[in-house]
Symmetry: C2
Subunit: 336 residues, 2 copies
């Protein structure tokens, strides 16, 4: 079968599904025995090895920065951005710059030294998601700040510098370009059709089923039509919701369950793969948009970004998403 | 010093220059002893180990696919795109796709098994550039094809699967997004000011000098104001030229000399770093644009792209480009 060019309507990004380069799940090189560190600054008992905590869920009566916490948020020790100072926007000839005002936080998801979301308990995953919500809601109050991006790096190939399962939050004084592009594509679709693009995508996927990994009732986990990497997987609420933070209790419970099992599925099928995930919610100053729909993108790091991807924004993917979905559906998980 | 957000006017991309994460040239982990392969399909004598050649510069009287060549172009053995077939553009519900018509070629720059452009002779680098031009000019004649991207991957961290110094050319039936974005930014600037954005950038850099690595007369090698990675370096013609392929003989000679020495400078300063470079020329159907200016971007692969970069299109760079330029200027090269 010849290669195919496919366009993702949300990011407007083209990918090349390169069947001449076709690969099977076992063909990818991954680090099959990630090394457990000798010293873990994120474990319970080592609270003094991180900057002082910003927030935590902890046993009543225990003091901040002591054991007793279940989820703990600290500033990144080497923050990309800091909350102090003013933006001080400036030109420099034809260039533009501003001070790096914002936030860069680390969400430590468990007191135990485990590597991946798949090793957390269901309650821990759910509390991790509550903390995502609480931190976004807190930082939204700072009117200088425009967008909060929650993301996760697991494994060295995904850019993780620490083994212990954690997420990060970077909040910027501008809405990043990737989000602006998605917003524009969604708004254009909405103006033309009066419907939300992602709602249409979800209903086409749920009906067609060929790219669906799991339909959990409230959420759909599926391989996008134009995935950047083999086994890229999205998790999207089936009903229209523009803001992750507004989700009800039932949603958090079901999302936690599904997120954990989707990652377990990837890891059971591929081995302890390095991965990133990113949470796309609406910008701070536009909570309830009829055209934007929050979602999570999970990117297993099985291919390397080379000169072509840097130069063009195209991605070359050797695995058909329909095949990836079929493979992931076939994985049997314990207790489900 | 606090972090700074800087915007690249050409790609409209923001980067975070994160001084809290500041690194010095020796702080990056690189593979200091890249392994020379036991078998090299690109060496002279192994012509039958690649698909048959598309073009070559070779000794008069020698036959194609035999030794005697100096530069040799073959189809990629696992092509992302192929020249046969029709585009067959189609919708699939809300999605768009087309057949993967295009070209994916490998430019083998030398019959000897060396790793990097810095190890080629001056004549070899120049002939490599001639071949870039000749392949672009040849493929431009196919009216289905819209854009040719020449790029290079050196080292495993940069996505190279073969050691032997080579470049690649991927030609697509659409203009990739990264190029469209640059074209739009340049056109907007031109409409507003009547000048080419990159011409303005070059004159600001040449005058300010803080980010300049080498001013060779016809070209400027400099660290861009908002680099994605530490030691990202651009090479740009100082006079307005929208199309690389139209360059005169003197330009090819000087560009080859400068490109080789710029990469040698990076390697002498940082060790045998993995790198990509990409050549941005104008689209096939718009050769002489008053607002577009061809250029080369060199990306040393010293940092990993993690969830934040995937999610936002922002890059976090721990090295100020002014410091990087000062460091690179201080490197003494043999014979220059």
């Amino acid at each position: 079968m010849p290669s195919e060019l496919r366009k993702d309507p949300l990011s407007q990004r083209w990918v090349i599904i390169a069947s001449e380069r076709a690969k099977r799940p076992g063909d990818f090189e991954i680090d099959t025995a990630p090394k457990v560190p000798e010293f873990d600054p994120f474990s319970s008992g080592n609270e003094d090895k991180t900057p002082p905590e910003i927030a935590s869920y902890r046993k009543a009566g225990t003091a901040p920065n002591t054991p007793g916490w279940r989820v703990r948020v600290v500033p990144n020790r080497f923050p990309a951005l800091q909350i102090e100072g003013s933006l001080n926007k400036k030109g420099e000839g034809i260039y533009d710059r501003m001070q790096g005002v914002g936030a860069h936080e680390v969400i430590i998801e468990t007191p135990q030294c485990v590597r991946s979301v798949s090793e957390l308990t269901d309650v821990q995953v759910q509390e991790m998601l509550f903390m995502y919500r609480d931190r976004l809601n807190d930082l939204r109050r700072d009117k200088r700040l425009k967008y909060g991006m929650i993301f996760k790096n697991v494994g060295e190939a995904a850019g993780a510098s620490l083994y212990h399962s954690h997420s990060q939050l970077i909040v910027t004084p501008i809405v990043p370009r990737t989000i602006t592009q998605k917003l524009e594509a969604c708004q254009e679709f909405y103006n033309y059709r009066g419907r939300c693009l992602v709602c249409d995508m979800v209903s086409q996927e749920a009906e067609g089923k060929t790219r669906v990994v799991t339909d959990s009732g409230l959420f759909l986990a599926f391989e996008p039509y134009a995935p950047r990497t083999p086994f890229e997987t999205w998790i999207v609420p089936k009903n229209h919701e523009s803001q992750f933070e507004d989700m009800g209790q039932q949603g958090f419970e079901e999302l936690g369950f599904l997120l954990k099992r989707t990652i377990a599925r990837l890891e059971k099928g591929l081995g302890p793969v390095a991965y990133n995930y990113m949470l796309f919610t609406s910008p701070f100053d536009s909570p309830a948009l009829p055209y934007f729909h929050w979602h999570i993108e999970i990117i297993p790091r099985l291919t390397k970004q080379a000169g072509y991807e840097w130069g063009t924004g195209f991605y070359i993917n050797p695995v058909q998403p329909e095949d990836a979905a079929e493979f992931l559906r076939s994985i049997k998980l314990n207790g489900s």
